[in-house]
């Protein structure tokens, strides 16, 4: 269905690629691209026929010597043709939703939680901020072409070995984590090392939460992050795959 509309305006080179799409998509419903989970509709082969100006409509215009007679509505008055409507077809060739003139917005079936990818990442000796940034991008869905800011299109991320995450410089003793209870004198300050001894998961959670959007959707995205202390996690049933990290400086050099 995606190929029918607007194929007349696409150059012939694209048509050969469109036939490729028609052949491969009919074999599998999901595309082979990483993170591309869009359910493509069934395509028909008749759509790949290159359609130029339809000649079947040129019934009475060929006798008339009116200008711009590519398609003329037979219902229009043959004496005076309104040049504004010379290129309008009496019946649209394609009957279906207009996907080329409206920006795509995901339906509910496009972002069910049960069909999202699960990623797993080992935090041993990875720089904290760079790791959190990559995780936040995948949770938010910014690496997908179907990214929508108002909809949760991202994936789930599992972090293991959270207590072994690393920071550069003197941050291990100098980075402070503060929290305030709301009462006067209720500020608690901890260093990175103390928090890592106490609750190591909180370090990564704090870092990622600062990088996700703040709001109702951000809070829901945060629940898609699962951090664990040791090397194992209880989500083997979701078959998580390795998180693809493109940052070259994420591994700490010792």
């Amino acid at each position: 269905m995606a190929l029918l509309c607007g194929s007349a305006s696409v150059t012939p080179m694209f048509l050969s690629h469109n036939t490729n799409v028609a052949v491969t998509v009919s074999a599998s419903t999901k595309s082979s691209f990483v993170g591309f989970q869009f359910h493509l509709p069934k395509l028909s082969f008749s759509s790949s026929v290159p359609t130029l100006s339809p000649t079947s409509f040129r019934v009475r215009c060929q006798e008339d010597s009116s200008a711009a007679a590519t398609v003329a509505a037979s219902a229009a008055a043959p004496v005076t043709e309104d040049p504004r409507f010379a290129c309008v077809e009496p019946e649209p060739r394609f009957k279906g939703p207009d996907i080329w003139n409206k920006s795509w917005y995901p339906k509910a079936a496009d972002h069910v939680n049960t069909e999202k990818t699960w990623y797993v990442v080992d935090a041993t000796d990875k720089v904290l901020g760079r790791l959190a940034s990559t995780i936040a991008i995948h949770i938010r869905g910014k690496n997908l072409a179907t990214y929508t800011p108002s909809v949760d299109m991202g994936a789930f991320v599992i972090v293991v070995n959270a207590e072994k995450v690393a920071v550069s410089g003197k941050k291990r003793t100098q980075k402070l984590y503060r929290r305030h209870s709301g009462r006067p004198g209720g500020m608690t300050v901890e260093t990175f090392a103390q928090l890592q001894n106490r609750i190591p998961e909180r370090i990564i959670e704090h870092a990622v939460r600062g990088m996700l959007p703040k709001g109702r959707l951000g809070r829901r995205l945060f629940t898609h992050l699962k951090v664990y202390k040791g090397p194992d996690h209880p989500h083997a049933a979701q078959k998580p795959i390795d998180l693809p990290i493109r940052d070259k400086r994420i591994q700490l050099q010792k």
Binding site: A2, T24, F38, V127, A145, T148, R249, Q253
Partner: protein, 141 residues
């Protein structure tokens, strides 16, 4: 209701009819508002005025927002192929491909193979800047 105001206006002046019409219009525009703003005229009038101002401003903002959304989607789509948005658009510019960002974003979502061919065209036209400065490596103490 309309006819009764008509009969009264002949004796009391035209203002009464006009106010009743204005109130109805305002409540009609205030549908779905929160709290008293949909029921009480004094509050509804203010909120409806604000709503109309926002809609005026946002008719212009919508064009900007949609364009930024298309750019973000194209960026994500090209990064899947190892090219970032800036280099991609520069390559298209060099090849004089004048597809707009709306169509490019729809292509990146619905026509992945076509989009890959576009990325390849752009990469051939503009391979990207090779002289990227790499900052020094981070070391733990």
């Amino acid at each position: 209701m309309w006819s009764s105001n008509r009969s009264m206006s002949s004796s009391l002046g035209v203002e009464r009819t006009k106010k009743k019409m204005n109130k109805d219009k305002i409540f009609k525009l205030a549908k779905g508002f929160r709290g008293r703003a949909k029921n009480c005229i004094r509050i509804a009038r203010e909120r409806v005025e604000k709503a109309l101002q926002y809609s005026y401003r946002d008719r212009r903002n919508k064009k900007r927002d949609m364009r930024s959304l298309w750019i973000r989607r194209i960026n994500a789509g090209t990064r899947l192929h190892g090219v970032n948005y800036g280099n991609f658009m520069h390559g298209l510019l060099k090849e004089n491909i004048q597809l707009n960002r709306k169509v490019l974003s729809e292509l990146s979502m619905h026509e992945p193979y076509t989009f890959k061919s576009l990325v390849d065209i752009s990469r051939n036209a503009f391979p990207g800047n090779k002289n990227v400065v790499v900052p020094p490596r981070k070391v733990a103490f």
